[in-house]
């Protein structure tokens, strides 16, 4: 019935231009490269911090920088974001201060989510970045609802939902895309096909020829793009957004990319992934590809990148130091934000805890290590 969606590309594996490159100014192109590089450095440091036992857990995005920054660059000022736990590059792109990111990784007293969630579960209201939760897919139907909200309010803009290949199997993927299709809501569904759901490969995830093809079931546009080609992703995302804002309905974009790191700091891909597969994708590293292309365009030099890296590393080091030095949230915060106001039962439980501590001293911290 449907023949598989074809794969959009702008930069080929060795950095040459195929087809038409988007009209982006040199500064834009450099900003994109910077965000990709910064993300890579943030990921490397995050993994190290976890290995050193300084943070409890970390989710890297290595290999998916183009897939994320390409689309992130197409976002509008007023757009809304329903991210996943693997898309911190978007916060980096939007210039969220490093300290804010590290505060969350430490779950310390200045962490904006008050140490309530595991690392990588960010929330940044100021950039309409909705709180991330662990259950896979739940943000997808929520994004459809927020986009419907834009329609109800008659406001212009676009909602972006991020999820992975595994997320397409969730209840909320089906519900969210179906509702958005019926409502013709201004939303772009970004499916990052990084070939793995922890240890489950895509062929065990679905028999659909491509993830983009799933758009057919919801009467919406499906686009499949080379996720390691930052310009191709930008182009696909920009067009999808324009259509959404013009009232032409939602788009499902599949970015074909690869998870070059482990699922998380607790995972070891060697148990289930062939080394050869990893090496094949290493050759398609999105940063190397974009670097090669920028070089051809005379927009890149080693010195420039070295400076860039050094600057970023210094910022990261400072932010890490500051976050690590920040104490944990105070015990009484445990009872805040359950309801708009503190109900009697909780007030009583809070008082009980405080009384116990007064009586028998601080509560010891047993620790525990995360397996996933």
């Amino acid at each position: 019935m449907a023949e598989a969606a074809e794969l959009l590309q702008v930069i080929d594996v060795d950095g040459k231009t195929r087809g038409k490159a988007p009209a982006l100014k040199p500064d834009d192109l450099k900003a994109m490269f910077r965000a990709m590089l910064a993300t890579r450095l943030f990921d490397q440091r995050g993994m190290n911090l976890q290995r050193q036992g300084r943070i409890g857990f970390f989710v890297p995005s290595m290999g998916q920088e183009a897939s994320q920054i390409g689309a992130g660059y197409a976002m509008g000022e007023q757009d809304w974001l329903f991210p996943s736990y693997r898309t911190h590059s978007l916060a980096i792109l939007k210039g969220v201060a490093w300290k804010r990111l590290y505060d969350q990784l430490w779950g310390n007293a200045t962490d904006e989510v008050k140490g309530r969630q595991m690392p990588n579960h960010f929330s940044f209201r100021d950039i309409r970045w909705v709180s991330i939760s662990s259950p896979i897919g739940t943000q997808i139907s929520q994004a459809a609802g927020a986009a419907r909200g834009m329609q109800v309010r008659g406001e212009k803009g676009c909602v972006w939902a991020w999820f992975g290949d595994g997320g397409t199997s969730s209840n909320d993927f089906h519900a969210g895309l179906n509702f958005a299709g019926v409502w013709k809501s201004p939303v772009v569904f970004m499916c990052e096909n990084n070939h793995w759901a922890i240890s489950v490969p895509t062929e065990k995830q679905t028999a659909s020829q491509t993830f983009a093809d799933k758009a057919v079931a919801y009467g919406m546009r499906g686009v499949r793009v080379d996720g390691n080609d930052v310009l191709a992703v930008y182009e696909a995302a920009r067009e999808a957004r324009e259509r959404a804002v013009r009232g032409e309905g939602p788009t499902l974009i599949e970015t074909v990319t690869f998870r070059m790191g482990p699922h998380s700091s607790s995972d070891d891909p060697k148990r289930y992934q062939a080394q050869s597969l990893f090496e094949a994708w290493q050759k398609k590293d999105p940063i190397e590809r974009f670097r090669a292309w920028l070089k051809v365009k005379k927009l890149w030099s080693q010195e420039w990148e070295d400076q860039l890296s050094k600057g970023i590393q210094d910022e990261l080091a400072k932010a890490v130091e500051a976050a690590e030095a920040t104490p944990a949230p105070t015990l009484d915060t445990l009872f805040d934000d359950v309801y708009a106001t503190l109900p009697a039962q909780l007030a009583e439980q809070k008082a009980g805890l405080m009384e116990q501590i007064r009586r028998s001293g601080e509560i010891e911290n047993a620790g525990g290590a995360f397996p996933l």
């Binding site: 309530r116 109800v152 309801y339």
Partner: protein, 325 residues
């Protein structure tokens, strides 16, 4: 004050809410043109159109998931789940998302929304149109659980719920939709979401109930009185957070407690009431606590009247605790 059935009072509350705040939207199955299978949303679709009263695809997951998104965006969605028995496909969005949004985001994001759903038996709906699963939600911090038993409370608490800023599971005892009648203030009118209601004062025994079972308990008052038993009847009205103080004060006075629920007995909300009293008013207790409840079986069809606690079962429990020496 106009007299209304509970169903009319709920419909009236929805009209008032939509007129007051254009951020109030409704979504669900058959709530538009049909006006809801019980008629609770009559007239709203004609008046406010498809943008604010949405007939959705058949997906509770999508109804609640998109409602959460609307709430995050700044609207006040009032999704309807056609029968409480069909809320489970949306359970994840309710307990993992709506209930935890405020907490997990450190207060950055909230989910002001009211999930309306007809609950309990009384229409011969067999075990997929009769369940009382309030206890699941009452065990979920972050949710408010409200279950009125009068037309007046139905209106006042529904309006409070829509504007309280928290996610609320608003359970409508379908058995009382037409049975519960009474004077209901016209226009804007709100009721407290943190207080139980002493429906009838008494001195010998405290009977605690909520929803449709309140109706059965009220029928028993007279019979108990004739047997010389003075019953204090407390209508909890809200199950989370719930008003333990009113119950404790009553038990301290009467020295006896009977809880009455339609839901299965084990781990139902009556257990919470009993446990709280055993924890905080044990010295006042002059008899065992008695729980009257549905049996620990699924809800039947032909034998619905046997499954649900009836006057005899309630009266039996009252006499049991009052006869205790």
């Amino acid at each position: 004050m106009p007299e209304m059935t509970m169903l009319q009072a709920i419909n009236d509350a929805l009209h008032v809410a939509m007129a007051k705040d254009d951020g109030v939207v409704m979504l669900g199955e058959d709530i538009g043109k049909k006006g809801g299978v019980f008629g609770a949303t009559q007239g709203l679709h004609d008046k406010y159109g498809e943008m604010r009263v949405m007939d959705t695809p058949l997906s509770e997951c999508g109804i609640i998931g998109s409602a959460v998104g609307m709430a995050l965006y700044g609207l006040k969605p009032v999704p309807e789940i056609q029968f409480l028995d069909f809320i489970y496909p949306a359970f994840d969005q309710i307990v993992s998302e709506a209930a935890k949004m405020r907490y997990r985001s450190g207060g950055q994001w909230t989910c002001p929304m009211v999930i309306r759903s007809p609950s309990g038996g009384g229409i011969r709906g067999g075990h997929y149109h009769s369940q009382s699963s309030e206890a699941y939600f009452a065990h979920t911090p972050g949710l408010r659980v409200v279950m009125p038993s009068t037309a007046r409370d139905a209106k006042g608490m529904l309006l409070s719920a829509i504007f309280c800023g928290d996610p609320v599971v608003f359970l409508e005892p379908k058995h009382l939709y037409r049975l519960a009648k009474g004077d209901v203030p016209a226009g804007w009118y709100v009721e407290d979401l943190d207080k139980a209601r002493v429906a009838h004062e008494g001195t010998d025994v405290t009977v605690v109930s909520w929803g449709a079972m309140m109706h059965t308990c009220e029928e028993v008052l007279k019979e108990a009185h004739e047997k010389g038993i003075s019953v204090e009847l407390v209508d909890l009205r809200t199950l989370l957070p719930w008003d333990a103080e009113t119950v404790l004060a009553s038990v301290r006075k009467t020295g006896r407690l009977v809880t009455v629920q339609e839901a299965p007995r084990t781990c139902g909300f009556g257990s919470e009431v009993a446990a709280t009293v055993a924890e905080k008013a044990i010295d006042s207790l002059r008899a065992p606590i008695a729980r009257v409840a549905g049996f620990d079986t699924p809800f039947p069809y032909t034998l619905e009247h046997v499954y649900k606690p009836d006057r005899k079962r309630v009266l039996g429990a009252i006499e049991y605790v009052c006869r205790w020496e």
